[in-house]
Amino acid sequence: MAPPAAVEGVRAAFAAELRDAASSDDLQELRNRYLGRKRGAVTALLKSIASASPDVRRDLGREANALKREIEEALAARRRGLEATPARKAGRPDAGADRDPAAASTRAGTDARDLGALDVTLPGREVKLGHRHPLTVVREEIEEIFTSLGFEVVEGPEVEDDYHNFEALNMPQEHPARDMQDTLYLEAPLSTPAGRPGTLLRTHTSGVQIRYMETHEPPVRIIAPGLVYRRDTPDLTHSPMFQQVEGLLVGDDVTMTDLKGTLECFLQRLFTPDTQVMFRPSFFPYTEPSAEVFMSCVFCRGDGCAVCKRTGWLEVLGSGMVHPAVLEAVGYDSERLTGWAFGVGIDRLAILKYRVQDIRAFYDNDLQLLEQFLL
């Protein structure tokens, strides 16, 4: 019959503490805590015998008393050991512990019986783990960065209506900027979880931001990641479907310098802390002033190479101050509020981060590529 668990627990705890005891003061402290009249753990065990159920009472009594004797002996043995080697430094009591029967019996590696040798160089049984897609790895990293900066992650439908993809973003019908994003249209409208039937595949996730503002009071602090679609023929750097993340900050005191600071923080965390960020004027219908954002080339660290066309800079993001017409379209007060927004292709960031040569490789789903990514 195995000793009751309570006894075994006290025995193991004592053995561990005894190993760490380095002075006679330590030993006295141990005695008090295990055998002391008031707070001793073994004393408590012995007291519990009276209230134990009849079927365990006998075993508990026998084992608790045996443990009490063991502890008495172990403490005495250790005290003798300390006296014999007075120069030993505190904290290294191993030599003494080895001579201690109570401690030794709890330790592995002292059993000299021959169990038969193994070829320990043969491979272990593989625990086969799957890998996240590299675009997910980057996307989740981006989500983590912005979550830590106080942004909420918001999603929306991939099939979108004209209003949320274009019109509310200051791109009415016949606006030349619509050419910037060649759009794929559906033959027939499709219902979406967002309500209004969708007629096209979203060309950006900006519609998510519009919906969010339509249903939430400012301040707004969100990112909107997701798949977007454009009528681009696939090549090394273009895919007709890719992942994007857009960010939106709207409030009483949001400025363009905040945009620069936030994007700098984002890129430095995603790449390296010494990443430099540069803004250049650009145009998007939904932001003004607009900026293209460049970061120091990850390949040459800004010295100039073929990838950055000898400029030392890589274009990674589009951004700007939210156009007042966009705020007005969702019923916000464009005089009281200002905001900024940005958009970035996750595929592009993944290409730069992992030095993948061809964007199409992300959609081949070749396990030889997927399995390279750290879990």
Binding site: P123, G130, H131, H133, E187, P197, G251, K260, S282, P289
Partner: protein, 714 residues
């Protein structure tokens, strides 16, 4: 826009080197994509460095689709004066060509200027031809080249008609008649619609307004008199026409972005000056200018304080009016407002992008310099919301699936129709694209499986045997619209090979080989997913018609046990893919090689799942369990789930687990029967069970199995 630097120098001093000029333009929003060598012009020696700047002009800045526009920016950047090119004097003489803007054409053409010139049609001088070529425009003859030169220099498109080939020697601006045809300069016969604007003579359309002239009135070697057009066409009308005709020209590109409505007469005078200068012609009479409702200048207020609010920096007060004036804006000081300066700003006609304060703030920011914006961090004004349930759900599923050995795939949202077709019941359930990129991307995926299957094929073709992939993504059908799903596809060996398999898999397995994945592998993955979501799964044999892409008898509908009564809506399915579908996608045929799939609806999963925030632990059991096995023989078509349900129904609450651990057909089992064995675990929450009471329960279970399923106890 390709700008020759020596041409630019005629309009503004360029005191910096080419590289510095290119860099300055790039930093002010005009990206120099390339710096190309300037063309050689015979007889002209360059005194200063020259080059062609290939500039990217954003759609909001049509005024910079010209040497003048770029010169104006250079003037503003470096503070040097802008020199307007020489113009012919304005004349009071009447025009030699009557111009009529018909009422129906007036909205599309608020301004139309025309004049007549006597011309000698010959090649342009070498310098002019070289400049056109440097800008990417093919020289044609001196008259046409002058109109193109003016467009490149001032940004205003012009057109020249052979006056003697215009019926009635007149110009009429009117809508096209529905079905009216015109042969354009590119030789194409074009059929017009009545919402398109044309320039006609007394009889026929002679040009598509703002897009392209007509071949019938083209300037040719025999032309002696031309009617010159310098007009302003409505951007939306031009864009619509250009798109409908699939015809984009240098003129339509500028008009649809917005030309300068103040420019037509200036452009005409510039053309007259050039015709005279190169000896290609001389104006006859004056310029007719049909401009019934001149543009009313608008005034836009600008507040110094607002500049600060938006940009987050203090821009020196005096910088603001200075830079705006250099860019051609009229600037008047306004009353101080709230302690800050204000201005009343009048944008010039060529700045079609400026109509409100923010547009002016952009100008200030651009010229003040984006490089001078410091980095600050926006304060958090409100606690951020927790991560949304859908995002959490996908992260959880991803964790479970990767831990289960499946790697994540991302496949295209649009697929080939042939790949999609097997996964819908009716043709109209497919969501087709109106303008697909190609046949390969023609319909939105009704299921994640076709994309994943293609990924399996891709890996197989590269010699990969064991493929386990999953995807989290959206699906699209006419019936359900856009939905979110998780899908798993597995094929090949169920585990990596290991040297110990030769010992562990003895009978029937070749040493070292791992058995192929089968239905129960995919079922196990689904069970794991549901377990993670807090759902107790219930599988039931699928009726073949509903899941037609799965092999008959080898597919299951997956439900939550809580809502698992027949008729409850399903969470999804698991099963073996019909081999024909895999073969049609090019899966290399291999003996016994099957593809198993599962797909679950994420919203249904979320509804059925346990609310993780309300989860509470229960204490580990304090009393020992008693385990008993029951082995029976039943009809081989009886689902194991039915037996399990009978066992559960016959047992008290102390039955905490029922697990099938053996299924056997063959020796010792009657024909048509199957041997099933279950391991039952009993445990009571408050006391130790006795052998005797469990024995009684086992007898009751035995009775129930005999009566319900005609089971033989073994």
């Amino acid at each position: 826009m390709r700008v020759l630097v020596s041409w630019l120098r005629e309009l503004v001093p360029v005191r910096v080197g080419i590289d510095e000029l290119a860099d300055a333009l790039t930093r002010h929003g005009f990206e120099v994509a390339a710096v190309d060598a300037a063309p050689e012009v015979p007889g002209r020696t360059a005194h200063e460095p020259d080059a062609v700047l290939d500039l990217e002009i954003t759609t909001n800045r049509p005024d910079c689709l010209s040497v003048l526009g770029i010169a104006r920016e250079v003037s503003a950047i470096f503070g040097d004066p802008l020199r307007y090119p020489p113009l012919a004097p304005a004349s009071d003489a009447g025009a030699e060509v009557p111009v009529t803007i018909e009422e129906a054409g007036s909205s599309g053409c608020p301004r139309y200027a025309a004049s007549v010139a006597d011309v000698r049609v010959a090649p342009s001088p070498a310098w002019m031809a070289a400049r056109l070529e440097a800008a990417g425009v093919r020289p044609i003859n001196a008259v046409v080249d002058v109109t193109n030169y003016v467009m490149l220099e001032l940004g205003h498109p012009m057109h020249a008609f052979d006056l003697d080939r215009l019926a009635g020697r007149e110009l009429r601006v009117r809508p096209a008649r529905a079905g009216e045809a015109v042969r354009t300069l590119d030789g194409e016969e074009r059929t017009l619609r009545d919402d398109m604007l044309v320039i006609a003579d007394g009889a026929l359309a002679q040009a598509v307004a703002g897009v392209m002239g007509g071949a019938d009135s083209e300037v040719t070697a025999g032309t002696t008199r031309v009617a010159l057009e310098s007009a302003w066409f409505d951007p939306i009308s031009v864009r619509r026409t250009s798109r409908r005709l699939a015809l984009s020209t240098d003129a339509s590109y500028r008009f649809e972005r917005g030309a300068d409505i103040d420019a037509p007469v200036l452009a005409m005078r510039r053309a007259h000056a050039l015709l005279t200068e190169i000896g290609a012609g001389s104006p006859r009479g004056g310029i007719v200018d049909r401009y019934p409702t001149p543009r009313a200048p608008v005034t836009v207020g600008l507040r110094h304080a607002r500049v600060r609010r938006v940009l987050g920096i203090d821009v020196e007060r005096d910088f603001i009016p200075t830079i705006l004036e250099r860019l051609g804006f009229g600037v008047e000081p306004g009353p101080d407002e709230g302690g800050g300066a204000t201005w009343r700003v009048t944008p010039p006609g060529y700045r079609v992008d400026v109509s409100r304060e923010i547009d002016l703030i952009e100008e200030v920011a651009r010229h003040h310099g984006y490089d001078r914006l410091p980095s600050t961090f926006p304060p958090l004004r409100r606690p951020p919301a927790p991560r949304g349930a859908a995002l959490e759900q996908r992260r959880l599923l991803r964790r479970v699936l990767t831990a289960g050995g499946c790697s994540e795939a991302i496949t295209y949202g649009f697929i080939e129709e042939a790949a999609a077709r097997p996964f819908v019941q009716a043709d109209e359930d497919l969501a087709r694209l109106k303008n697909p990129l190609s046949e390969k991307f023609a319909v939105l995926r009704p299921s994640l499986i076709p994309g994943l299957l293609d990924a399996v094929v891709y890996n197989r073709r590269r010699g990969r045997r064991d493929v386990r992939l999953f995807e989290l993504g959206r699906c699209f059908t006419g019936t359900h619209g856009e939905t979110a799903a998780v899908a798993v596809v597995i094929a090949g060996p169920g585990a990596p090979e290991h040297w110990s398999h030769s010992r562990r898999w003895q009978e029937g397995e070749r040493a070292g080989r791992v058995p192929a994945s089968d239905f129960y592998d995919v079922a196990g993955i689904v069970e794991g997913l549901l377990d993670a979501a807090g759902i107790e799964p219930s599988f039931e044999a699928a009726d073949g018609a509903a899941l037609s892409w799965l092999a008959a008898g080898r597919s299951a509908v997956v439900r939550s046990r809580g809502t698992g009564e027949p008729g409850a809506s399903s969470l999804g399915y698991a099963g073996q893919l019909t081999p024909g579908i895999a073969a049609a996608r090019g899966l290399p045929a291999a003996a016994g090689d099957a593809v198993y799939v599962a797909e679950l609806d994420l919203e249904a999963l979320a509804r059925a799942g346990r609310d993780r925030r309300r989860f509470m632990a229960s204490p580990p059991p304090r009393f020992p369990a008693i385990v008993r096995d029951v082995a029976i023989a039943v009809d081989r078509t009886l689902p194991a789930a039915a037996v399990r349900d009978t066992i559960r129904a016959a047992a008290p609450d102390s039955l905490v687990d029922v697990r099938a651990f053996d299924r056997y057909e063959g020796a010792g089992i009657a024909e048509g029967q199957v041997g099933l064995a279950f391991r039952l675990t009993f445990r009571h929450g408050d006391r130790t069970l006795t052998d005797a009471e469990v024995q009684r329960t086992m007898q009751e279970i035995g009775t129930a199995l005999r009566t319900t399923h005609h089971a033989t106890l073994r």
